[in-house]
């Protein structure tokens, strides 16, 4: 590629993955480039494919529930499933994930029970965060999955700090932090990159470049040709991969984890993908972007690509697809029904966890609330 052909700004063109240096393994037709092939077993491939389908189906179901007014909000990962699941798959059990807000696929993969996730969507009494956070904003310590945080970028420096603590304690763990292309404008991104470089922390900074930050396209977010370029300024190793290529994401993330684990410091990964749906259920993207662009990316569907690979290897049939979908559908239905029937959190619980121990002034405010008319029907 000649210099003139390198775009001066990110373009959101699906063919950007053909640029030099972008890691690609699984092609659209389901064939595999052996150079970076992470060499997954058949069982691993099938497991990941099922997980991808499950995330997609769950996403669609949650949007439907929101439209029906049964849940208040959903922020999904349509089109970004491979970037999210592939990176989560590459993490070792000891590693920690610091999420953005679209990575429920990663949380489920690492062990957040589906029922608990759906409970969070309803904010009921079994919600892991006890009805306090918005849907899709959960925490799962058992899965070594941090707390989904709304203010953009704040998780980046935290992930670097967590990794630094591990380094000082000589714990064998790496942190992976997810964020979007928009978040690369945040101060926390720049400082996080700088600190990760200076402290040489075992951190993987995973940028889901999905083309848009709500209505702001990548070319108005940065004047750099790529988001990975930003690594150069901070002395942070940076790579780009086809984010709709499950195997490329796995290979790239595994490399970054290995690098971090052996003490060679942080890596910035720019995964080229696309936000196929609106920003969240609160958004109609037709107001600010062209349908043709979306259609082009839909043809690069990350899940269909894995299916073609499985079919090439004769590991998957239409019948397998039908039975997988039926099983997931039943599982999701059951979880939704159970979540809907679960009571809301009791009023008094609102005062718990402000501090590790309930102080006197909150005891007073709680008791006052429980004496008042709002306590009726909500239990103490």
């Amino acid at each position: 590629m000649t210099l003139a052909a390198i775009p001066l700004k990110p373009t959101r063109n699906p063919n950007d993955v053909l640029a030099p240096g972008v890691v690609r393994v699984l092609h659209d037709d389901g064939t595999v480039d052996p150079a970076h092939d992470p060499g997954l077993t058949d069982a691993e491939l099938i497991g990941l494919y099922r997980a991808l389908v499950r995330v997609r189906m769950l996403d669609e179901r949650l949007v439907a529930l929101q439209r029906q007014g049964r849940i208040g909000f959903h922020i999904g990962s349509l089109g970004e499933e491979a970037a999210i699941l592939g990176s989560a798959f590459a993490m070792r059990p000891s590693d920690w994930i610091f999420p953005c807000y679209r990575e429920f696929g990663a949380a489920l993969w690492r062990g957040l029970p589906l029922q608990r996730y759906v409970d969070n969507m309803f904010g009921n009494e079994n919600d892991p965060v006890r009805g306090r956070q918005m849907p899709d904003h959960y925490t799962c310590r058992a899965a070594k999955f941090g707390s989904v945080s709304s203010p953009i970028g704040t998780q980046i420096t935290q992930a670097v700090g967590f990794a630094w603590a591990a380094k000082l304690k000589k714990d064998d763990l790496v942190t992976l932090v997810y964020f979007g292309d928009g978040a690369t404008s945040s101060n926390e991104f720049h400082c996080g990159m700088n600190f990760a470089g200076v402290f040489r922390t075992p951190t993987v900074l995973f940028c889901r470049n999905n083309g848009w930050a709500i209505s702001v396209p990548t070319e108005r977010q940065t004047a750099s040709a790529t988001f990975a370029d930003k690594g150069i300024a901070y002395g942070v190793h940076a790579v780009r991969c086809d984010g709709n290529d499950l195997l490329a994401v796995i290979a790239t993330t595994r490399d970054a984890v290995a690098r971090a684990a052996r003490g060679d410091g942080p890596t910035l990964i720019e995964a080229l993908t696309y936000r196929v749906a609106g920003h969240s259920t609160s958004d109609d993207p037709k107001a600010y972007r062209k349908e043709a662009e979306v259609e082009e990316w839909k043809r690069r569907d990350p899940i269909a690509r894995v299916r073609r690979l499985l079919e090439r290897k004769s590991l998957w049939s239409d019948a397998d697809q039908a039975s997988a979908e039926a099983a997931i559908d039943a599982e999701v239905r059951e979880a939704v029904a159970a979540a809907e029937q679960t009571s809301p959190p009791a009023l008094a619980t609102m005062f718990d966890d402000v501090y590790a121990e309930l102080p006197w002034h909150l005891v007073e405010q709680r008791d006052e609330l429980l004496r008042g008319p709002r306590a009726k029907g909500h239990g103490a």
Binding site: Q133, H137, P151, A183, L369, G372, R374
Partner: protein, 334 residues
């Protein structure tokens, strides 16, 4: 203050904000609107819908995602001779720009010996009620009302949504406008030629003689509802809308309490260290001998605002709590 003489038209708070923005852009070529999602999207709360198309990207500017950067840019542009209106999606995200606002915008005139002023207007949404949980729902007006060098406004009516921006833009110093998220849908009538309004005094929204209810922003409507409920119980409440949170208009408060001898302060902020406490302190200092009952506060429970509807409702000041506090005050005799 321009009195509307043209016939009143049905409109909403959101449209009043939009009309004010549009007029500011039309009137003064130095005015520009900047922030996240203000252009192509038309604003997170649709306040700037159509303005990018009308005024172009140099005057209605979507910025990259960094609050401290676009507030700093706004301060620089204001110092450089423009009149930027910076929109921050919510007060919660303004914390990422607090250094620019507190240590710079608010202090530059003083620190520079009067050489550098910052005629910047910052608008932000505030408040709870939309089930968007802690990181989107807090009422942090008191943080800003604490800062010398800033003027802090809380338009609670269509007239103020329409007219405060104008006056704020004419001010030589930084002005922060808080728009409560639950007010955007507020419907009402507004004179077609509604114009600028003063930004240095509170307003009596309902006269009364038995108890003063002090409110601002999103709680003014609740205080008015409480006053109606109290009227049914033969308690005549006066409702004061603070309008300006810094500097506070003590005179209006003191005049009201001299008449009613009782006050309940309603504040969506947290109780400890909040604006309600400040108002009570002023009344205790300057109206002690007028008071016939202890001052009362109705504030938000001191927890991060929860998501679940019943929890959020329970955390916030509500009409029944205001009524109860007012009845408590009138039951006491001096």
């Amino acid at each position: 203050m321009t009195q509307g003489v043209a016939p009143a038209r049905k409109t909403t708070y959101r449209e009043a904000v939009r009309a004010a923005l549009r007029e500011a852009l039309q009137r003064d070529p130095r005015v520009l609107l900047m922030g996240e999602e203000v252009g192509a999207y038309g604003g997170s709360y649709a306040c700037s819908l159509g303005l990018l198309e009308e005024f172009g990207p140099d005057r209605v500017r979507d910025t990259p995602l960094s609050e401290s950067a676009f507030v700093g840019m706004g301060i620089g542009a204001a110092m450089g001779g423009l009149r930027p209106i910076v929109e921050i999606m919510t007060v919660n995200f303004s914390l990422l720009a607090l250094d620019q606002l507190l240590n710079n915008a608010a202090t530059l005139r003083h620190m520079s010996g009067g050489q550098v002023g910052v005629p910047l207007v910052v608008r932000m949404a505030t408040g709870a009620g939309k089930q968007v949980a802690a990181q989107h729902s807090h009422s942090l007006e008191n943080f800003y009302a604490h800062i010398p060098g800033l003027k802090v406004l809380a338009p609670a009516t269509l007239e103020d949504a329409r007219g405060m921006l104008w006056t704020a833009l004419e001010d030589p110093d930084p002005v922060i406008l808080f728009e409560h998220t639950m007010l955007y849908g507020l419907e009402g009538e507004l004179a077609a030629d509604a114009g600028p309004v003063p930004i240095d005094r509170a307003a009596v929204r309902r006269p009364g003689k038995d108890v003063t209810l002090v409110a601002y922003g999103g709680t003014v409507g609740k205080a008015m509802d409480a006053a109606r409920a109290l009227a049914e119980q033969r308690v005549d409440a006066e409702v004061i809308d603070l309008r300006t949170l810094r500097p506070l208009d003590d005179a209006t408060l003191l005049a009201s309490v001299a008449k009613t001898h009782r006050a309940v302060v309603v504040d969506e902020g947290w109780r400890t260290g909040g604006l309600a406490g400040e108002i009570c302190a002023r009344l205790a200092e300057r109206a002690f001998y007028d008071l016939d009952a202890p001052l009362a506060r109705v504030c938000t429970a001191e927890v991060p605002i929860p998501y679940a509807k019943h929890l959020e409702d329970a955390a916030l000041p509500q009409v029944e709590g205001i009524v109860q506090a007012a009845l408590g005050a009138v039951a006491r005799h001096g």
